[in-house]
Subunit: 204 residues, 4 copies
DNA sequence: AATGAATGAGGCTTCATTCAT
DNA sequence: AATGAATGAAGCCTCATTCAT
């Protein structure tokens, strides 16, 4: 018997007061998660840290999972938002230039709250984070971009290519951000990633 | 709050009976993990499934974390073992050929128990799996191999290159095995991965 | 631990609006009770179902117990009211005839809302239903009736007799309504009950 | 969504120690129920009163409902057992004599623990007490007894008759025990009940 | 008068771990 | 060595009730 029932918010806060409550709760959750880790995250601790009663927490989040879910969604939204302006007006650019923009976008997204991002990925049971909507969005963008220049591409299987590029970007950046932050100091890593993908994609 | 000290097995089972007990416990753990997931994994359940008393379990594993750790280690050992024969006599081969062997090795390793591998990565709190010794081993191999042919390589920063190659192989294979198993049916994915890395590594 | 003081309505609704609110609340309570049972009955749920704020509910009912009490009282009133016209002009009738009327009255009363009646008896903590005023009333009627014909009665202990007749009627009808509704289809059960009581009461 | 899952004991206590634990728990439950009522009955309180940890309670009873259920069953068993010897060798007796024995049996059963009996009936949600197996047993006895003498009976509908007799005995005794214990001091009430039922049953 | 956000005591239950046998 | 009964801290969550607006 997996997943609870609904992991969606219980009610929409209408008044300003409740809006503040919800924000305090999410903020407290973030703090506890990044400062002490997932296994210290209890609903009572969140409420206390948020300066809110435990009852209030459950007024807006039907269970612990929903709380995490909302936080993950919120975080994903922030990442997407921050990535947005790197991903505009790409149509005229060359493949390496576009890749550069995408890499920059993903890096920017990871800069939102790397600690939280890491905890969400490493400590929180996957079921609770689920489909990060940003990934679907990212895939769509990438697909459009590659499809549009399929004549310039060396690989023929578009679907496979998308998988490879997306995974590579995500994994390398994620790995660098989390395990080798020093690599991000200079632009070298970024450049190398672009080179690798460009060489792979572009017809020689 | 049990304050974990050592997370290493309490005693080395020397007798056959003990050996059997430990194996039963690890096997039961694997089963529960793959069939019902990490959050169904309780030490009592493991003992019951192993046909062993809970007391006996704690005779061999000082705490739950040690149990998981032993399992992860065991699994890693199996993976390494299975990967071994793909990684012998590589010195005479060309870079693409070596890459092919490495990719094959990693794929073989992932075939040991993909379900368990996935659960270990996605559901088990990271701290409990910790240093997968295989990674260190893999990195050493890769470093040796690349260092030895540094004159043929296009990238100059060896450290960065190792990071990129290792992460890419690991991430793509992991992603394919877990999320897109259909990609593994044909050799296309494997080939594509080798192409991408070769093109990146080899001086044109 | 709210320490119940009064369990009587907080204020008598004088205005039409208030009257409507109270009715909506009682109606919602009835619905929840009969549709989902006592343990689903929460004051918040009642308010929501009544289309009224929880605050308003507490304006009219000082606590949950008072709410239940009012409902029980209301239900009892309805039962009594429905039983009334079976219990008029009994003075000239013979004992079996009077018994028939009483039985009919009790049956009619049980027909008001059998589901609610059952829930009130089976699920609601007794303390909260307390003195059903109708019982006192019924007993008085019965006492008057029997006292008036004590010379025709076979049993000599009037008090005991009242207890026996009242309990028997109540229990049998209650049992039939709740557990054996098919018995009520024909008049057989009714007849049998009257026979039993008549034979018991009347001097041979 | 009614009833939990299983309301049956979690494990059979094998050792003497656990047997004692179970008994202490049931005994504590009885005490709390009779001394302070159902709404004071919490699992933690039971455990504390039993001098047992809360964990032990849940080792033997999967949830609160199962605890109540076990208690009710245990109580029913005791009642049946105590009633037994009043209900042997009835075949040769006359109808009034048999009724006397049955009445005595039911009275004896109610004497086991009247306070508990009352609480079980009045305060505990019905679902949790459920089919008191004793009733089924009682009905079978009664049916056999009446069927065997159907030629001496005045009522013709055996099924209906059983219902009437059983309900009457149960209700009157229950009512007397709970609300009018003074009636039980003399044998008058008992006698009256037997008279009523005899007159009803026996052909004139 | 009404609203509904907020409260918080406390209930039920789990599970890693210990220890007497 | 093994057993399994026992432990108890602590987690999640409900719901009657209050009170600021």
């Amino acid at each position: 018997m997996p997943s609870k029932f609904s992991a969606t918010p219980r009610k929409q806060p209408k008044q300003a007061r409740s809006q503040a409550t919800v924000e305090a709760i999410l903020s407290a959750t973030t703090h506890i998660l990044t400062e002490t880790g997932y296994d210290q995250l209890t609903t009572n601790r969140v409420a206390e840290r948020a300066g809110v009663s435990i009852g209030s927490l459950y007024q807006y989040f039907p269970n612990k999972e929903a709380l995490i879910f909302a936080l993950a969604e919120h975080h994903a939204d922030e990442m997407v938002q921050l990535a947005q302006h790197h991903l505009e007006g790409l149509s005229d650019l060359t493949i390496p230039e576009v890749l550069r923009q995408i890499v920059k976008a993903v890096l920017a997204a990871h800069a939102v709250n790397p600690k939280l991002h890491r905890v969400l990925h490493e400590q929180v049971p996957h079921r609770e984070v689920m489909q990060r909507l940003d990934e679907a969005k990212a895939e769509k963008l990438l697909r459009a971009f590659l499809a549009q220049r399929s004549d310039q591409l060396q690989p023929k299987n578009l679907d496979l290519t998308i998988f490879m590029v997306e995974q590579t970007i995500r994994a390398l950046i994620h790995g660098a951000v989390n395990d080798r932050p020093e690599l991000l100091k200079t632009g070298e890593f970024e450049q190398e990633l672009i080179v690798m993908l460009s060489t792979y994609l572009v017809k020689r």
